[in-house]
């Protein structure tokens, strides 16, 4: 039994109130994620990637379809969702006026039973994301973008998720920070056996991070498979388009042929 089963998920929004005209954001999306995998989801803006992440995490209720988490991981005693998302705008997720120490402790209190271990657990979770000790007393607004992201990640890890969804965690970072983050995610995946879904329009990042990749276009899965195979031997025109766009080699005619 896979860790996560996404079955025939469809989701639409009403674009015209008077006519009840609908726009389909997700169309019958199905895939599975095995325990310990890192699965990448790529595609252009507006393809439905972030909506899919929110549906999986239970933030949005789909029109139809099911999200099934392996029953082995269904623990009734859990006080937090086993699926957590690291959002794109991580800076806005942290309270700018609270000390990081308190933010992390609050999350830890949800997951640990023995409160006397709080300090040890806090250090464990913050050091696992490489958040330096001297910043524990800093408030959200006193941290740089990269530090905020690590703190936000630590807060998610504090509730011990089974599945971690990363929504474009790499945008607006320079390549050195991106590399460090890729290494960090891989390490967390290995050491804590956390399964991950990483959403990114950056194919290079997914080559580095994801074992398997799903290509999403206009709310539908176009192609999926091992990252290496999909990116070296794409079967579908859309995947081929994404790859040549990545190389910045598209001619104007090729761009024009696509509806942007």
């Amino acid at each position: 039994m896979p860790l996560l089963k996404v079955e025939n998920i469809s989701y639409s929004v009403i674009v015209k109130e008077e006519t009840k005209k609908k726009f389909d954001i997700l169309k019958n999306v199905s895939f599975e994620v095995e325990q310990g995998e890192i699965v990448g989801i790529c595609g252009e803006s507006g393809g439905g990637k972030s909506t899919l992440a929110k549906v999986i995490a239970g933030i949005i209720k789909p029109d139809s379809g099911e999200i099934i988490l392996d029953s082995e991981h269904q623990n009734n005693k859990r006080k937090s969702s086993p699926i957590q998302i690291l959002f794109q705008n991580h800076g806005e997720v942290l309270n700018p006026f609270r000390k990081m120490k308190n933010v992390i402790d609050e999350a830890l209190k949800i997951s640990i039973t023995d409160k006397s271990n709080l300090q040890i657990e806090r250090e464990k979770v913050l050091s696992s994301v490489g958040f330096p000790k001297e910043l524990y007393d800093r408030r959200g607004m006193e941290l740089s973008g990269g530090e905020q992201q690590r703190a936000a990640l630590a807060r998610l890890l504090a509730v011990k998720p089974i599945l971690l969804i990363l929504d474009e965690p790499f945008s607006a970072q320079d390549v050195e920070s991106q590399l460090n983050l890729v290494k960090l995610f891989k390490q967390l995946n290995k050491e804590f056996y956390i399964t991950m879904i990483c959403i990114s329009h950056d194919l290079q990042i997914l080559r580095n991070l994801a074992n398997r990749v799903i290509v999403l276009k206009d709310g539908e899965i176009v192609e999926s498979g091992l990252t290496k195979e999909v990116f070296t031997n794409p079967q579908k025109d859309y995947t081929k388009f994404l790859l040549s766009a990545e190389a910045l080699d598209l001619s104007y005619e090729e761009l024009k042929a696509r509806n942007m």
Partner: protein
């Protein structure tokens, strides 16, 4: 066309001054695209703002000379500078959508440009944006990030500036949009009377688009290299930066 010799840019904070940039030379010639590469926080945006005295003088002090059209932009009057920024040297800043007033419809910006709708339509068409009529009625928050980025470039191009300055034009946009921007920039300088200055941390975009590239770190700028020279550069700082890219390009999951 523009010749900058910035001796220093300093910022004042609680009575103390800290130097952000030092001894930066930049000569922009007609018909060329220049890129300045650098990591987050290296001072790229500060540098381009210093060129037309965009940094608030209560906080920053810029020493040096920026010669453009026979005048020193660091000594020019605010009125003159505004005129230059409106017509001669246009900026497209990062987070394009934030440069637009959310309470105003896009028509406001089209009207501001004083350009005929027909001419605007031509540019919108090139950037594969919705029609003049459709866009005019929208607010900035109704545009996607990629659309806003393209629109801001259109608005800058409508002024037909001599120099176009782009701050991280590829951040948060799709590869397809990057392709479009790249093609338009090449097009823009083709007739040899315009130039483009790009600051970015995207080495691929810089290499594909630019005639000359320099690297900014720790407040100092290297000399300008051609793409090939850059990739072969013996400069250690440049090398470290390029190696991160190589590591990213070579690794696999």
């Amino acid at each position: 066309m523009l010749s900058a010799d910035i001796k220093s840019v300093s910022i004042f904070n609680e009575g103390k001054s800290r130097t952000l940039l030092q001894d930066i030379r930049l000569d922009i010639e007609k018909g060329k695209i220049y890129s300045i590469l650098g990591k987050n926080g290296s001072g790229k945006s500060t540098f381009i703002k210093s060129l037309t005295s965009l940094l608030p003088t209560v906080l920053y002090e810029v020493k040096g000379k920026v010669l453009f059209g026979g005048i020193d932009l660091l000594q020019a009057s605010e009125e003159r500078l505004r005129e230059i920024r409106r017509n001669k040297i246009r900026y497209v800043f990062q987070d394009a959508a934030n440069s637009l007033d959310p309470l105003k419809k896009i028509r406001y910006y089209f009207d501001l440009s004083n350009i005929s709708p027909l001419k605007i339509e031509e540019l919108l068409l090139f950037f594969l944006l919705p029609t003049y009529k459709k866009l005019s009625g929208l607010h900035s928050y109704e545009l996607s990030g990629g659309m806003a980025q393209r629109l801001l470039i259109v608005l800058a191009l409508l002024a037909n500036p001599d120099i176009l300055i782009l701050d991280e034009p590829t951040s948060g946009v799709d590869y397809a949009v990057m392709n479009l921007i790249l093609l338009k920039m090449k097009n823009f300088v083709r007739d040899n009377d315009k130039s483009v200055l790009i600051v970015t941390q995207d080495i691929n975009f810089a290499v594909k688009s630019s005639d000359y590239i320099a690297y900014l770190s720790e407040g100092r700028l290297t000399k300008f290299f051609t793409s090939n020279e850059l990739l072969e550069s013996p400069d250690e700082r440049v090398n470290n930066f390029i190696n991160s890219f190589k590591e990213m390009s070579n690794a696999s999951a």
